[in-house]
Amino acid sequence: MSRVLLLQGNQAVVEGAIAAGCRFFAGYPITPSTEIAEELAKQLPLVGGKFIQMEDEIASIGAVIGASLTGKKVMTATSGPGFSLKQELFGYACAAEIPLVLVNVQRGGPSTGQPTSPSQGDVMQARWGTHGDHWMIALSPSSVPECFDLTRRAYEFSERYRVPVILLMDEVVGHMREKVVLSDDYENLPQPMRKQPTCKPEDFLPYDGGEDGVPAMPPFGIGFRWHVTGLIHDETGFPNGSPEATVKAMDRMYHKLADHYDDIVRVEEFKMEGAEFAVVAFGGAARTAWDAVTMARAEGLKVGLVRPITIWPFAQKHMEKLATQVKGILVHELNCGQYVGEVERAVKGKVPVFSYGKYDNEPATPAELLAEIKKAMGGVK
């Protein structure tokens, strides 16, 4: 049986979390992500889960790290300044390889910025907000049904690769309402599972990546008694300051994601058949692009849309290929131009890359984006 619901993007995230088996949420109120906390406060106890409103954003991600160590699937959600505060322990989750889902419903910044306005200003912060080299995954939904699907996928990736995953939302998608068709019985849906050790506790090496680079992660309390630290550690989980152990740990954490590019990096194409020019847009900005590309096609312009669903790791192979397919690329995003730099890096000057960044608190209209497309195409020979 299925249910047809009219849901806000933030509510669809909640449904996706419950469906994926999330049973612990810790958060702190902040616009425009608060609905996620409010709805989970209501829903988690109904499925035997727990919600806690912590004293601040740092404590919220700290608590989800602790609960994740007991085997729970966990979530925290935030926005703007809260995302900055969470960076410290997000880095801890990267270093100690703790699965968790962090929702960031982006708002305008810097600082308190524009609390209720759409923005995609945290693209680079999502990747590099915490200190030090690290690897993580970020996914960006463009519709309410996709909020549900990508939340579930965030748990799949987080549990499969033992990595924190950012659901990089924006206010457009977080607060809009759309029809969503949901299963009545989430228990029939596949549940993401964490790799478990197959050896005896005394033989267990908590940070031995095995064949795929992903260490098994038994919950606390069942006999494995492993050590978790944010210091660089070797297979034993204990700190190791040697150059060899450092390189080995860093390389494993890089490869466990990089070697699974085809699984992790999802990119959707729209009207790319025969396209000579591509728009690259994601999240809420892709909604404008769907319409603008459709309008361009109606005018006979050979334009298509490439929509990265996985924002990090960057869609390097996709963009390299795109540079061989089209004569020009326009990157549209709701910021002063962040993702465009990554596209330029991949394209390496093979075709011109244009930027249409919008940062005036409002999404672009399809007509505005179409005008930018025409302007860019006029400059492409």
Binding site: I61, G66, W226, F238
Partner: protein
């Protein structure tokens, strides 16, 4: 149980020697923790130790429990998640004076307020030792530190009073001189159903003692003997007699408040029965 047997049972093979300086009190406090666990009869699998960052917080790596060496000041939030995720675990929080009352001060008062069943063992050596001797919120007024070369003009917290005021339901203080008492206090804290804080007054001869001319490890531990006063005697002392001294023992106990995970189970039951 002999010291050797305690080490074999509770310390991870190959992890000793520890990183602490000669004369440091952290080893005594850590010893009191494992003696306390032995007395409670809990298995190693049933205990989780969550620490922050600093000298004392290194204890988690040596101990053969489910252990987390978290981030600076963040032991209590992480411990909150561990306890809520698996309330069957007996969670001990190992933290220092800087970790717990400066960068982690906000977490301390809120964890105390919630009355979550955590046992905080606060290693108070009055200084930031790992970074080489800077003043903490528990550094006594007028002490010298590398960041207070002319002596600190900041008033220190009484962390016992702070925890009480914030709602902790078991608060105690021991010292590394009164090690048997300290063990007993940790046992009581672990057995208490609710938020417990045990302040363990400890010596840092290297970073605090030298700067404040307190002598070596022996003099500093004798200072604890001469300044810590059992609560029963403390209660009979005049304000004048109390000058410069501090009470030790169980200093606050309140069994009237429901523990957080117990309250949460009621909440889940109520929600599932459709009540609001």
């Amino acid at each position: 149980m002999s010291t050797e047997a305690l080490i074999d049972k509770y310390f991870r093979p190959g992890r000793l020697p520890h990183i602490w300086c000669p004369g440091c009190g952290n080893g005594i406090v850590t010893g009191c923790i494992v003696k306390a666990v032995e007395q409670t009869g809990l298995t190693r699998d049933e205990v989780a130790v969550v620490s922050g960052i600093g000298c004392s917080s290194r204890a988690s790596g040596y101990l053969d429990f489910n252990t987390v060496h978290s981030a600076h000041g963040r032991a209590l939030p992480v411990a909150t998640g561990v306890k809520m995720g698996n309330p069957k675990l007996n969670v001990i929080v190992v933290t220092g004076d800087g970790d717990c009352t400066a960068i982690g001060g906000n977490h301390l008062i809120h964890a105390a307020r919630r009355n979550l069943d955590l046992t905080v063992v606060l290693f108070n050596n009055s200084i930031y030792g790992m970074t080489g001797g800077q003043y903490s919120p528990l550094t006594p007024f007028g002490s010298k530190a590398t960041t207070a070369p002319y002596a600190t003009i900041e008033h220190d917290f009484d962390v016992v009073e702070l925890a009480k005021a914030a709602g902790a339901t078991f608060v105690a203080r021991g010292t590394t001189f009164h090690a048997q008492l300290l063990t007993d206090l940790i046992v009581k804290g672990m057995q208490h159903k609710g938020f417990s804080l045990i302040e363990a007054v400890s010596a840092c001869p290297t970073s605090f003692g030298r700067q404040n001319k307190m002598g070596g490890p022996v003099e500093m531990i004798l200072w604890q003997r001469d300044h810590g006063v059992m609560k029963a005697a403390w209660d009979k002392m005049t304000d004048e007699q109390r000058q410069g001294k501090f009470p030790i023992g169980v200093l606050h106990e309140d069994n009237s408040k429901v523990e957080y995970t117990v309250a949460y189970d009621y909440l889940i039951k109520k929600a599932q029965e459709g009540k609001k």
